[in-house]
Amino acid sequence: MILASLVEQLNLTVRCCGERLDQNVTGGYVGDLLSDVIAHSDRGNVWITRQSHHNIVAVAELKEHAGIIVVLGRNPEDETVRRAEEVGIPILTTELSGFEVAGKLYEFLHR
């Protein structure tokens, strides 16, 4: 599934890089501990997190994630959005919890 379909299905807010939603989503990973995400997520995953500070961008860039979904209505810092724009990592936000987003994504990918 491409990122744009996920945005549509989950009604996510696109905070940046709307032009990069054509990427294929290979899976997802939920985590707020950066080293855990580095160790266990894969290329092309969407990273589901409640972290919203700008350090998340470097992690997603290193791991070549398709995008970051910031959950629980948390608002990414301006600097987070600025950096994500610079490197082309889409940042999406939602009021949903990580559990809900992961559950739905899993269903989309495996049905």
Binding site: D32, L34, I38, T49, N55, I56, V57, A58, V59, L62
Partner: protein
């Protein structure tokens, strides 16, 4: 290691400056990409560098990461001036961390950094001297 590096570069890192976290590892990744290494090698080197970089930022006053590319290996050295690692064996344990609450709040200091480095390198050695600093030496075989 006694070989002539085909490429060499050194990057300074300032302790406590979380704003710059990831800058050096992303540089290393793009350099290795330019040198033509496959994605897997780029990613392993970048992760090992990222975790070393974060160790310096989180715990040391200052330090640097040195990247050397030889004909058969990539060598990454991370050296810092700081408190050093008191118990290396304990520090290698997954989940063990001496990070402050402030560091943990940002999602750093999960106690997984050193095991991430170990997983990403073919050889990994740590030396440390109390109140002087730590030296992480990482080798990734490329052939």
């Amino acid at each position: 290691m006694g070989y002539t590096a085909e490429y060499e570069n050194s990057f300074p890192i300032e302790g406590g400056n979380f704003d710059e976290a990831g800058v050096v590892s992303l540089r290393v990744k793009s350099i290795l990409k330019e040198l033509g290494f496959p994605g897997d090698i780029q990613r392993r080197a970048a992760i090992a560098t990222y975790e070393s970089e974060l160790n310096i930022i989180s715990y040391a006053r200052s330090g640097h990461v040195r990247l050397r590319v030889g004909p058969h290996q990539i060598r990454i050295d991370a050296e810092d001036q700081g408190p050093g690692i008191e118990d290396i064996e304990l520090a290698m344990k997954d989940g063990y961390s001496t990070a402050s609450d402030r560091i943990r709040e940002m999602g750093f200091g999960a106690g997984m950094g050193l095991s991430n480095i170990k997983r990403c390198s073919d050889t990994f050695e740590i030396t440390s001297e109390r109140d002087k600093g730590a030296h992480l030496k990482m080798l990734i075989d490329t052939q």
